[in-house]
Symmetry: D2
């Protein structure tokens, strides 16, 4: 299946109370998203707690997702690891699971210069016939991908797209402009939840919103309005989703995924989609009453509870 434009939520990975993967809830979430009209599913991204999973669990998630999606939309698989060698092991597993594309970050842990970053993506693409998307997430890998390099790799067919979670909107706009000037070889997706309207106006081809696990319908409506250049509607939907996104600021004394993924999981637990809001060790769950009530109150204001 070809890679698509539009709304491609990064799938959460629900856990049982013993912290094993809750495949039943995973299937429910997949169906909820597809029913809402999303254009693809991105499994094993940062929101999917990919960094915390064993290789066995990564494989099991991919197989379960591909089976449950059953060809209704394309499945993108995160193949996130430190360096090429390990990334390729994940690529092999993703191929066997039958996904439609893989998504890889810049190398991390070891310090890399621009030549190594480029060689890293070339080595991945050369080893697979699946489309490869670059995942630009400097907050995790501490390297920013350069627009000129991305478009050059697009031109050559090395990369099929970019998921931009860089938080650098000036760079993203340059990427859009350079890509358009090159004949649009890359599908350009923004990874942000709360500034998607501006990205769509600027020419993004879609988005990968973690918050889309909680309210896929809102993002689907926003994307449809953008397709029709109904920008005031786009902005209204974004304002509503930005208000909903405030759930991530409610957990007390938590940072990173313990706050972000934690609040998404808490929302889905409160909405009855997940059994628990647990995250992988060592992330502590959001179990204090004030945080949970603050999240519930925001969900109610958004008519999701």
């Amino acid at each position: 299946m070809k890679i698509t434009k539009g709304i491609i939520p990064p799938l959460l990975t629900p856990l049982h109370v013993d912290r094993s993967i809750d495949f039943g809830s995973l299937e429910k979430l997949v169906d909820k998203l597809i029913t809402a009209g999303v254009d693809g599913i991105f499994a094993l991204g940062s929101s999917g707690e990919v960094a915390f999973l064993s290789d066995e669990d990564r494989g099991a998630v991919l197989r379960a997702v591909v089976k449950q999606v059953d060809g209704r939309v394309p499945v993108y698989a995160g193949v996130i690891d430190m360096q090429v060698n390990r990334v390729l092991q994940h690529v092999r597993q993703a191929e066997q699971a039958g996904v439609d594309a893989v998504v890889a970050t810049a190398p991390f842990y070891a310090i890399s210069g621009p030549m190594e970053v480029e060689a890293h993506f070339r080595a991945i693409a050369q080893a697979t016939s699946l489309p490869v998307l670059a995942y630009d997430i400097p907050v995790c890998v501490h390297t920013k991908l350069i627009p000129e390099m991305l478009v050059q790799l697009g031109r050559e067919g090395v990369l099929a797209g970019v998921k931009d979670s860089s938080g650098d909107d000036v760079s993203f706009r340059r990427l859009v402009a350079l890509n358009r000037a090159a004949g649009s070889p890359l599908v350009l997706l923004t990874g942000h939840e709360a500034v998607v309207d501006g990205a769509f106006l600027a020419g993004a081809d879609g988005c990968v919103p973690g918050l889309g696990n909680v309210d896929p319908d809102g993002y689907v409506r926003m994307w449809k309005a953008a397709q029709e250049s109904q920008w005031d509607t786009v902005r209204r939907e974004q304002d509503r989703l930005a208000a909903l996104f405030e759930i991530v600021f409610q957990p007390i004394a938590k940072v990173g995924p313990a706050a972000g993924v934690g609040s998404f999981k808490t929302a889905l637990e409160l909405m009855g989609v997940f059994e628990s809001n647990l995250m992988s060790v060592p992330l502590a769950p959001i179990d204090d009453a004030p945080s949970r009530e603050a999240i519930a109150s925001i969900l109610k204001a958004a008519d999701l509870l």
Copy 2:
């Protein structure tokens, strides 16, 4: 004069070949901007090389600008310095020059916590009857201003507005939402050149584009279209201006203002507004032919040459 919404370019400070201030060119630039329909003039911002000027030169620039503007639009004055004491000396000088508002950054050089940052703005506002805008520019001062603090200071009448050059669009959107929920005490201006369309869609009250020195008409058209919710026009104007903004990436082996302010000054020299493209010591001018030709070529493509 009340502070305004809309396009408020941060005025460049042209220099003679002996690096003294070229007041003739400064007056020409002021008239060019006002003729184009800008809504205010921001003197002594980062683009005005404020960090490089003596107190005497700062005062002379303000007096010249106020005189040349002559009440046609409000004049905002940067009062940028390390800590309160020196900031207040600049405030006194700005008051004497007759400006309409002052713009202050977080304290810098000495490390500051959030309590010191808040006390800093309170101390400035208490010492002047002029409206005070906060200038959020972490790339220069290495502190990010927090939306909650800004809106609280807005509610209390300490701050009248914010110039956001933080490059953090997610935070800016939160600032817009929190400000609106508080009854919009703050005028919110974006300081970016190339992602203004998204900021306007999100609810920014205006922008302070360095590139507006080069093409004020483009920004004025974009702002008017935004006022009328003509978002496709807004985007088209922004795409044109983003292409023009590529001039800052042309100088070879230059960073910071040597590239950014340097390319704006080179453009205005090429366009016949400035005598020279010189910047303050120790910034080297853009004097190599390839850089200058690349800038000229982009100006021609934008019909500015």
Copy 3:
């Protein structure tokens, strides 16, 4: 075997020209180090290109090292990965290979707060009876380990030691003082090559110098002199080794391990210990004549060639 103080070089991982692991050269290197009198061997650290190896290769390296060392000194194994789950897979493999201690970093990729970092080390220690050393390397994992937390985990028997590659000598000295005040539960090793004399004077229990692969004798002499408080000798040895360390600044246009590990491997190739100076994909080897000659010249000045 108990963990030891003194010189514990982080073992390089030599490669054949097809980039498979060169076990013959690995064995030669192990013997060279033990003959020189080192006090332990640290396999699979950053200098061992651990981030680039598959799990299979990691296991093969550990088995080969344990076999070759044959109980002469303790073997420390890096168990470096993003989060607990994967770290424990490496711990299992290290246990099976028969190492004497494991060395783990703070979690990385996902953003972590101090509570998660502490829980991470507790979860690792709880799952193994091997001594666990914390590896403080913010340049790779972007989290600095806090002295108070480390000493508390030492008191409780969670951690047995620290390898400090933080580059923060003020913090390291606080760690030494806090550890001493707590009865010295932790073995404290510095990971730096060129400022070991000061660390020894301050009370470090040993060091883990990448450069120790190239000149183990120099580090062994420095440690012996430090044991006898012959500080002028310590300094003289350090000055000599600091001059040798200049090899890492010779490679042209290279950063990170491509420069550091690359120059160590090039030195060992020039010295006839390694077959090649190749590194893992995508790291480019140091193959230009000027870089190689500069390294050779420094080796000659140090009487190593």
Copy 4:
């Protein structure tokens, strides 16, 4: 007077309760330091709250210090400001006050590349006949000075020395080695309080310890022992001073100078040298009982109270 090696404390600037400068306490502090045997006085450094002072107050401090020192040791003056133009105004004032050397940082606020940094120091040196020391303090100015550049400027007579507060001991050791190889044109001073023993062992020519305001005798003893290569004594003195330095970690919820300078001022108030421990607006004083008692208790343990 020629610039000297040894202990050159960065002078605190005591304030009255109305926050005006307390020249009486300043004179007492100068005498206390000189009586203890320091080798120079560095006025208007970061510890002197230079960033918070008006130009008038800077001038008054310099004149008072020069008068009180009265030629007994050389006086170094910080001429710290954003860019060359303002730095030179401070240089003029320092010359008129009769100081013996000036100390300047890299430019800040505006982003600078290496060429601007070098041109900045050249422009300062060209404009004065006083010796110029470079002040390497990236935590404040966000630029690290490169050893190669510093030594080159030393060779050419542009710079006379370096005060290194970079926290980068590897880089400092390279600076020492490069300077020695060049014939030692630069006097190299470390700006750290707690790792001075290692710096002396490595070849530093002296130090500029903020804590030296509180216990100059300890630093003088350490320097003398270092001159005689009594390294175990050096270490013992440093251990004692490192324990005393813990006063800066006692203030609750404070960072930067509010903690560091604040605790030094609190110590001097408790010791009866200063009238108050106040700092410049907007820095809040250390006025809670637990913080003050913790500081007093550490002073008592060091026999300073």
